[in-house]
Symmetry: D2
């Protein structure tokens, strides 16, 4: 069964999301645990739980994937916020670097790494 998110794509803004995460953490006095290093470990741990959905199969339940993906995203946003980074801005900046590494004419249809293109 397909998983149908109930709201319109893009209805919530990134700043609103960050604010709700900050409030959640502050209310529980969890800033003390959220060192950059602990958050980086947490990103890896949750990424593996996402991968676990695909451990023995290629097409897992969409709701399970959404749940685990949400956890990875949450820790990514907390880490970005901790370091004073705008999460969408760093994605945009990295995308520009990646575009330069993988020019369309050389990279099209290929999955090899840029240093072997």
């Amino acid at each position: 069964m397909a998983y149908s998110p109930s709201i319109t794509l893009g209805a919530m803004g990134i700043e609103e999301t960050l604010e709700s995460l900050r409030k959640f953490v502050a209310e529980r006095d969890w800033q003390q645990f959220h060192t950059p290093e602990n958050l980086a470990k947490s990103v890896s741990i949750e990424a593996a739980e996402l991968l676990e959905c695909f451990q023995w199969q290629s097409t897992p339940d969409n709701k399970a994937v959404a749940d685990e993906l949400a956890d990875v995203l949450t820790y990514c946003l907390l880490l970005a916020d901790k370091l004073g980074l705008d999460p969408l801005e760093i994605v945009a900046e990295k995308l520009e670097e990646t575009k330069a590494k993988y020019p369309v004419e050389k990279a099209r249809g290929s999955s090899v790494k840029y240093d072997q293109l």
Copy 2:
């Protein structure tokens, strides 16, 4: 040296970011490689590169962390988009579940798992 992102927090919207990622992938004809499973593997791989910044130290260079965090976020956004999920909405939905698992009065100042609270 601190890493100073050059733009105002929140200046870029999530939909704009997703659109730029979609365009990047389409131009290179990479949709064929971006199965949900391959994207989930990629999230784990990039999460470990982020963790590598902290392998032997607790306070790595902020620019290196930003670069690797951007890669994790990028694959998370691509996976969400592939599955028709709004990345911010799934974070918000999961946050509601997590709030219920970790009530403020029980979880405050504690890092133990909800089933041991």
Copy 3:
């Protein structure tokens, strides 16, 4: 091309392997970096490099896989040794627990988790 290890399977013993790793670390004065936590991070980091061999393909080069698998094993052995654990003994002990969780008659031919058998 297949990767052909040049020696007989089982020619080297686990104690000999551990001893060569201990010597390698001691000569470089690296014990100071090898806290259990740093070694655990290193296991995850190397595991992701192993996974990277399979990022966009199911059948990577065997030599590359052997190299990355060796790195994961190395850090696992260093961590076990650091904690005074016999690596083969903990595998054997865990196998007994896993056998009990997955009885042959219930688990045969199934990839579902023990709590759903």
Copy 4:
């Protein structure tokens, strides 16, 4: 409380361990799930469970660490065996390469990567 393995270090040989794992898998008819790719994913997943012991603390319970480390080792051994690799031999071969990359006189007391030594 310290975790005390009950047997002498090195009492069990690697070939005996591999044989017990092969038998465990065959009895459950699980070879069908154990593709190299699935085993590589499993190594990453279990590595993250090991890391989870250290998520919010540097000195976790030794028994928990032993359990998770055993799982990582188990999948590493299964993957090596699947590919016809001697696990101790690939560790030894990789160690020779690493020794060459990190000469004692340059690497002593330093945690920087070989390409920055």
